[in-house]
């Protein structure tokens, strides 16, 4: 029998929004794969910055500008250390995962030639499909897709078959946002490097569910969003190997990314600023640093282990309900469960769960090709985080049973 440990209750107390009531019912927030909630320390940091430190960075000689610059760059260093990057120059602040992928598609894409190939998988989020389609049209390169098994795992034999000397980039999600599958990225990176291909890891989901070490992974790019790791929206990170980032042309032009501008010739700034045109999301970067500081302050190993137990419990109890079909049944899975109940439309179940205070996601989760693969309009996705409790899973299951009764 699983119970919610005290340290999870302690973590939970750090997140003010979790005390909210929705339709007069206690909020059960199971939409963590879409965005995580923010601990008080992050919220306070944002308020404190605007109340006492607000200034533009990198240029000002005045005190506030110096303080803000220092805080922003400290956040970069904290993130660098958290994900195991060798240098802070390899940490590019972006708007989020989507922005990071678009940056790579544009700047790394500029180095590609007709006939080159990019490999993605059938379980990618639209943001790891569409930028490559745009690039493929522009540069006449081929986009190839690694198919998946019914259980939501990659067909690795097909990956081996599709990978060739023509493959210049493999862009793949670490963890599927729809199925929860954890992909064998270590093998993928090793095999890709053997044929000279670079690898981009979409870490949007993995960043909140376990430690990531880009150096030991040896990936070439790693992208994630701040808001999925208890930080604010509108800030994200692109990690790239220094040598690669040096070779790539800038993404956008503007202030901050230049060393010297004349009408004859502009000299670009060095890394990471070469990729950070314009006034950045200063407080976003600083508050993301605080979010990382928060994770570092808790016993995250225990919390991540607990998340897995919570998933096992939820799946096991869900499957006791008649008609439940789970999509994504890999043994290597993170804490989300995607399912349907008989022929009930996910939108109907989602609506009735909402009225009972349960926040889940319904629909195609920005993975329409995956929905086509399973021939379904969408799923209901319950995704957990380190502040969710066993009692919440029980509330969710009860609400689901009631919704099913009403809809049957």
């Amino acid at each position: 029998m699983i119970s919610t440990p005290d340290y999870i209750h302690d973590i939970r107390a750090d997140f003010p929004i979790l005390q909210t009531k929705i339709h007069n019912k206690p909020l059960v927030y199971f939409d963590n794969a879409a965005t995580t909630q923010k601990p008080k320390i992050v919220i306070d940091r944002i308020q404190d910055y605007y109340e006492t430190k607000n200034a533009n960075i990198h240029r000002g000689v005045h005190h506030l500008s110096q303080v803000a610059t220092q805080d922003y760059e400290n956040a970069r260093t904290r993130i660098q250390k958290y994900i195991g990057a060798a240098k802070s120059e390899e940490i590019i602040f972006t708007k989020g995962t989507t922005d990071g992928i678009n940056l790579v598609a544009s700047s790394f894409g500029a180095l590609l030639k007709e006939g080159d190939e990019i490999l993605i998988s059938a379980m990618e989020h639209h943001s790891n499909i569409v930028p490559w389609q745009l690039l493929a049209d522009l540069k006449k390169i081929q986009l190839r897709v690694i198919p998946i098994h019914k259980d939501g795992t990659l067909i690795m034999d097909e990956f081996d078959r599709l990978l060739s000397e023509r493959t210049k980039l493999v862009s793949i999600t670490h963890i599927s946002n729809t199925l929860g599958t954890i992909n064998p990225i270590e093998n993928i990176i090793r095999s890709s490097h053997a044929v000279g291909a670079k690898v981009l890891i979409d870490g949007a989901q993995s960043i909140q569910h376990g430690d990531v070490d880009v150096s030991s992974l040896n990936c070439d790019f790693f992208v994630f969003s701040g808001h999925k790791i208890f930080g604010p929206t509108g800030i994200g990170v692109l990690y790239g190997k220094e040598k690669l980032l040096e070779e790539m042309p800038p993404y956008q032009g503007g202030g901050d990314m230049i060393k010297n501008v004349s009408f004859e010739k502009t000299i670009f700034n060095e890394l990471p600023f070469k990729f950070e045109a314009g006034t950045p999301n200063i407080i976003g970067g600083i508050a993301l640093g605080t979010a990382i500081e928060y994770i570092e302050s808790i016993d995250r190993k225990s919390a991540f282990d607990y998340e897995k137990k919570l998933l096992t419990y939820a799946e096991q109890e869900l499957l006791k309900i008649e008609g439940v079909q789970v999509f994504g049944t890999s043994s290597e899975k993170t804490s989300l469960v995607s399912f349907n109940v008989g022929s009930i439309h996910p939108f109907d179940l989602g609506t009735l769960l909402d009225k009972q205070g349960i926040a889940v996601r319904t629909g195609h989760h920005c993975t329409q090709p995956l929905m086509d693969f399973y021939n379904i309009p969408g799923t209901i996705r319950a995704s957990f985080s380190i502040y969710n409790t066993v009692e919440e899973v029980d509330l969710f299951l009860n609400a689901l049973r009631r919704a099913i009764t009403v809809l049957s």
Binding site: H23, F347, D348, K355, Q356, T362, G363, R402, L407
Partner: protein, 137 residues
């Protein structure tokens, strides 16, 4: 024949008896099951209003100076709200459909279903009902 306003007032009264949201939705689901809709074999792409979450099919015609609508959805709650909208709009003159205020949705607390973020196809359906009515003014 009730007026456009009276039809809406009657629906509001039907929903007023329920305090619990789940009861309101039970009624919506019942209504969704009752209406005929458009059987899948008769649906076509012209009728389709694509929502991100659910899909809606709408068919409209005009005779004897009034509009007739039939509609369907793959989601039963969406279909139930369609039933309510059709009850109000059916048999009305095009001018009424275009000009008169549609207030019952908000009154019974279902406005979220007609918000652009809900993406269930209903907002698009109401817009198209009005556009179809406009062709006959």
């Amino acid at each position: 024949m009730n007026t456009f306003k009276e039809k809406q007032a009657a629906i509001i009264a039907d929903f007023d008896v329920f305090d619990d949201w789940m009861d309101k939705y039970e009624l919506i689901i019942e209504l969704g099951k009752e209406i005929e809709g458009i059987i899948p074999a008769k649906r076509n792409d012209q009728q389709l209003i694509e929502g991100c979450q659910s899909r809606v099919w709408l068919d409209s015609s005009f005779s004897d100076s009034i509009m007739h609508f039939s509609a369907d959805s793959d989601a039963i709650i969406t279909k139930g709200i369609i039933a309510l909208l059709i009850k109000v709009f059916n048999g009305e003159k095009p001018e009424t459909i275009i000009k008169e205020e549609l207030f019952f949705i908000k009154e019974i607390g279902l406005q979220e279903h007609l918000s652009p973020t809900r993406a269930n196809g209903l907002l698009g359906m109401v817009k198209r009902m009005k556009m179809d009515a406009l062709k006959h003014v």
